[in-house]
Each structure stands twice: as C-alpha cells, then as structure tokens.
C-alpha cells in the first residue's frame, strides 16, 4: 500500500472544540474563580494517507474522536490544525472552486438512519437536490438520474415519491447512500453506517458497500466500533484512543497480533460467535475525559505494561514494520 500519491492525505490534523468563557465567567475568573476555557481535544495530530481504492477501517471506543475525524475529512467540520490533501491538492480550507469540487468528491454516510434524512423532503428531492444544485445533471434528466441512483443502491425507483418515515431503517440507510452517490463521489466516509441496523439488515448493507466499491471504484474510510465489521471490510485498520491514532496496520496483520497494548486489549475483548463459554478478563478502568487527557501516553492509567516513561512522555506514532505503525514506548525497549 505505498502508492506514490495517496488519494487522501492527513497531516497533523487536529480538531479541538473550545468553549470560551463568556463575559460573566471572565469576570468571575478575574475574581478568582477557577475557570478557564474548556478545550475538548477530540482529534489530535493525526497523520494518515489513504490510497485510491483502499478501505480503511477506523476503530476505537466511544468518544475517542472517530466521528470528528470523519467529519473533518468530509469537510463538515474545519480542522483546527493540520492539512488535508486530496489528490495532492490542499483542501483544508475549501475556498477555490476546485477545492470545493474536490471536497464534493468526499461524501459521508451517517449512523442514524432517522436523523440523517430530512423528514420534510421526498426521496427524489433528498437524492436529487445536490446534483441539481451542482449542475451535475439538468432538470430534465434529473428524474431518470435519481431512478438510476436508487436502483444502484437496491431501491425500487417507485419509492422516489415517498418520505423517509415510510421506510425501514435498512432502506433509509440505502437512501442515505444514494444521496451520497448522486454527486459521484470517489471517497466515502462511513460513520458507523451499520451500527443501528439489525444483524440481518446489516449484512445487506455491508454487502451493498462492497458491491458499490467494485462498481464505482470507491475508497472508504469506514468508521466503526465493531471490530468484526471492520475486519470483514477493510484493508487497513486505524485504531484511535482519546483523539490520537495508536496503531495502524493491515487488517490481517493486526488481527493476527496487535502491537499497541490498547489495540491488544481491544481485540481481546471482541466477542466472537465461535468463542463459547468464555471467562471474561476485562481491561480495568474507563476512557478518561477528553477535556483533560492524562499526560504522557493517554492509555497509561489502564495499561498493564505501563512504565515510568509512559506517564510523562507521549509516544509518537512510529513505523514498526513496513506498513505498520504504533505509538508505544515499549517498542523502543526491545
């Protein structure tokens, strides 16, 4: 996976959510109240390159910043720091027409099959609005185009006059996919796109993703907390913990044996249908708040192997083998 130029490149991308003190709070702070701006370090210094046609899985526990990263990539949120490139072009601040066009090539599929569709629009409008606005199709051809897109996600074109509430969850997710596909994207960010679906429906949608990838040469950033799904679908897996990438590895290698202690713990907890009558031996503790992450390695309070250095120095993401990266001080020891 070392294509000369990645399709999407992230260089030191960070996203912080800052809540500044308002006037009253500032006065209070003056008067000695312990108040300061609250900063959520949702995503911290992420470097990542995604090659064309690749499926990259992004896993991590709730609140670790997966969705935020996905949104930054999809251009919904601006990055606080760092650079995003698409086909080598900087799209960090989608200013120029060209950058906008590039940004349009990256689309997002959302988690919630209910909240992600505008309840007031018919399917045809949901799918057809953006291509029309961007002049991808004329008004005359729009109806046919919408039918075509709907068919490609496995929906009957006769559904075009319906409203979202008249669909089941799986079908809605397909409408969401159709909406994204309608602007002819090359890169899809799927944020937990199957998490809300039943197993049987989930399988249908996963199959659809794989099928579309073949048909339209799509590249995926597939966000999920379900390691099974990620393992099934992706070529490479990125594991995040508290806003930072802790390990990147090709799927096979990762599941064969993870490097980072957190990744290992995570994999160990994955329940599999073929592992019966397990005796559970969980990782202790919970994810710390991103409001004040622990110093040093963010995982050290829960890490069974933590050494003194972990408490003070933040480990950098280093290549440990070709195509494999890990951020752990233990790698430096041996």
């Amino acid at each position: 996976m070392s294509a000369p130029q990645p399709l999407l490149g992230l260089e030191g991308v960070s996203k912080r959510f800052v809540r500044r003190l308002d006037l009253a709070e500032r006065i209070a702070a003056r008067l000695g109240a312990r108040l300061r701006d609250q900063v959520v370090h949702a995503v911290e210094e992420v470097d990542l390159a995604v090659a064309e046609g690749e499926v990259v899985g992004l896993v991590g526990e709730s609140g670790c910043g997966k969705s935020t990263l996905g949104r930054v990539v999809a251009g919904i949120l601006p990055a606080s720091e760092g650079r995003l490139t698409y086909r080598g072009k900087d799209i960090t601040k989608a200013a120029g027409a060209e950058a906008k066009k590039a940004a349009l090539k990256i689309q997002m599929i959302f988690q919630d099959p209910f909240a992600s569709l505008n309840p007031r629009l018919k399917v045809a409008e949901i799918v057809g609005e953006a291509p029309l606005v961007h002049g991808l199709v004329g008004r005359a051809e729009l109806a046919d185009y919408v039918d075509e897109v709907l068919t490609s996600v496995g929906l009957d074109p006769s559904y075009r006059r319906r409203y979202p509430h008249q669909f089941s969850g799986g079908q809605r997710q397909r409408v969401g996919i159709a909406r994204a596909l309608a602007v002819r994207p090359e890169f899809l960010v799927c944020d937990e796109s199957v998490a809300a679906l039943d197993v049987s429906i989930q399988a249908q949608v996963l199959n659809l993703f794989m099928e579309l990838r073949e048909r339209f040469d799509l590249t995926y950033l597939f966000i999920s907390h379900d390691l099974g799904v990620v393992e099934h679908l992706s070529d490479r897996v990125v594991i995040m913990y508290l806003g930072r990438v802790v390990e990147i590895a090709p799927t096979e290698q990762l599941f064969a044996g993870a490097n980072h202690p957190y990744a290992r713990a995570l994999l160990a907890e994955v329940l599999r249908i073929d592992s019966r009558h397990r005796i559970f031996k969980p990782v202790e503790g919970e994810i710390p708040s991103p409001l004040d992450p622990p110093p040093g390695c963010a995982f050290h309070p829960r890490c069974p192997h933590a050494i003194g250095r972990c408490r003070v120095e933040r480990p950098l993401l280093k290549q440990i083998a070709p195509g494999r990266y890990s951020a752990c001080h233990l790698n430096d020891q041996s």
Binding site: F110, N118, R120, R162
Partner: protein, 316 residues
C-alpha cells in the same frame, strides 16, 4: 437556565424498535398525515370549524351583518340599550340588543371579532417573522451574535407581556396599529427563543451535516433544510399565541389602553358593557364575552391538538 446535560443525550442514540419494521405505506405527504391525525380529535375539529366560521364572518362582515357599527351615521342613540330581539327601524331586529350608542350588538360583535382577529393574527405574523429570523440567525451563527441576541430576548422576556404592552400603549396612545405594534414587541422574543431552541436541536442532526457535506450553500441549508424542520413547534406557538394576543388585546382594551372607542374590539365591547351588567342590561357585555371566549377556546383547542401531533416526544 442551562441546556440539558450533554452526557445524557450522547449515549441515548438508540433506535426505537418499531421504526425498523417496514411501516405500512400510508398517506405520503406529512401534511396529509397531519390532517388525518388532526381529524381524529373531535374537539379540535369543532374548534377548527368555529375558527373557520368566525374568520369567514369576520372577513365578509360588511356583507353579513345589518349595520356598520363604526359608521356613526348609521347609529341612533335613541335606539340605545335595547334588549335582544327589539325591533329596529333601520332593519329587521336587534337580535342581540344594542349598546348605549344604539349599536346593533350582533354587528358590533362581528366587527369586533374582525378587529380582534386582525390584531391577533397580524401581530403574530409579524412577531413570527421577526422572531424566527432572529432565532435562526442566532442558532446558526452562534458565538457573540447569538449571545447578544439572546440577551436581548432574555431582557424582553424577563418582563411580563401585559406590563410592557400597558406601558407601550400608554406612550403610543390608542389605536389598532399601535396595539399591533405593542403586541409584536411583546411577542417576537418567544419565537426567537423557540426557533433558536429547535434550530439548535435540528442543527445537530445528521441531515444538516449531510447537506453541508453535499456542498449546498449556507442559505439553502438555513432556509431549505433547517427552517422547515424548526417550524412545527413554531406553528403550535403561533396558534396558541393568536389566542393569547386576542386575549391580551381584549385585556388592554378593557383597561382602556387598546383600540379606540369608535371601533370597538371585543374587549372594548365587554369593557363598555360591563358598566351595564349590574343594571340587568347583560347583553352589552355578555355576548361579546361569550364570542371572545368561544374564539379563544377554539383556537386553543386547535393549538392543543397540533401540539400533541407535532410533539415528537409524544408521537408513539
């Protein structure tokens, strides 16, 4: 007041069970569904019917009622305070009697309804437009602008409507236009706050993200996607506010700072008639009062039904 603890909402994104089934494809448009559900409540339908009848009567008042009670040339004080059913020389019968100026009460009530409804709906319409624009802008752009606008709203709302209106009208003087202005001033903030509230909720929903991601312009997102979805709670507030405005106008007129006496609204009719209540000439005050109450109840019945239908939390 702070917004609900974010920790509560974040974890609660769990699908409701019934939605994962194929819902029976019924009426397609949300409006048609609403209409059908609305009709399931008999009081609400009755309320709507009353509103329609009253509105038609008010709009076509000159064609319906025998007398223009605002035209002094048509009044004769010698016909003053006649009881209901008295014969009239100018036309058939004073079915609801006359007031002291010789005004046919039936005509006066219909014309009064006209003023009351005009004041109610026009003030609500203006307040709605102003308020929702402010609220939407505040919610979408956030930051300092949001704080500023919401502080103004807070200040406005920290004063009871009746007092503000009272003072304003004391300053402006009587007049339908002035009552409307006063009512707009006391009402807009409700809408601003309501729209901002629901816009903040809607803005966090993924379909807005999707629209942004699809590169649709800010204006399109704001007015095409965000605004329509903030409307349902607004409709409810607006409906109920019309009733509120009608009542407020009546109250102000009752206190003597509302519409001018020559063009009495229902409130003023009641106020004028009340002096005669004790002396047994109940009709001058009683019938306008009944009309006023019926209209307000009807509007509230409709508003109540809409509230039930449009409240997502009670939708089961």
């Amino acid at each position: 007041m702070s917004e609900p603890d974010p920790g509560l909402s974040s974890g609660a994104v769990v699908a409701e069970p019934e939605t994962l089934h194929a819902p029976p494809p019924r009426l397609s448009s949300p409006l048609a569904r609403l209409a059908l559900d609305f009709c399931a409540s008999r009081p609400a339908v009755a309320g709507l019917a009353v509103i329609l009848v009253v509105a038609v009567a008010a709009i076509f008042a000159p064609l319906i009622v025998p007398q223009n009670p605002y035209d002094l040339a048509q009044l004769d004080i010698m016909d003053g305070t006649l009881p209901p059913g008295s014969p009239s020389y100018a036309f058939g019968t004073y079915w609801l009697g006359t007031d002291v100026q010789g005004r046919d009460m039936l005509s006066a009530i219909v014309y009064g309804l006209r003023i009351s409804l005009l004041v109610g709906s026009v003030s609500v319409a203006f307040a709605l437009v102003i308020g929702s624009a402010v609220g939407l802008v505040a919610a979408f752009f956030g930051g300092g602008l949001d704080s500023l606008l919401m502080r103004i709203v807070d200040i406005q709302l920290s004063f009871p409507a009746i007092l503000v209106a009272l003072i304003l009208l004391a300053i402006f003087g009587n007049g339908v236009d002035k009552v409307i202005i006063a009512l707009v001033i006391v009402q807009w903030a409700y809408y601003a706050r309501a729209v901002r509230g629901s816009a903040l909720v809607e803005r966090r929903k993924e379909y807005i993200d999707a629209a942004v991601c699809l590169g649709l312009g800010t204006r399109r997102v704001l007015f095409g996607h965000l605004l329509p979805n903030c409307l349902p709670p607004l409709i409810v507030i607006a409906t109920v506010q019309v009733a509120h405005a009608v009542a407020l106008e009546a109250t102000l007129s009752f206190l003597g700072v509302g519409v001018p006496i020559t063009e009495p609204s229902l409130g003023l009719l009641i106020a004028n008639g009340f002096e005669y209540m004790m002396s047994g000439r109940y009709w001058i005050s009683f019938f306008p009062g009944v009309a006023l109450v019926v209209v307000i109840v009807a509007i509230n019945l409709v508003g109540d039904r809409l509230r039930d239908l449009l409240n997502p939390r009670l939708q089961r």
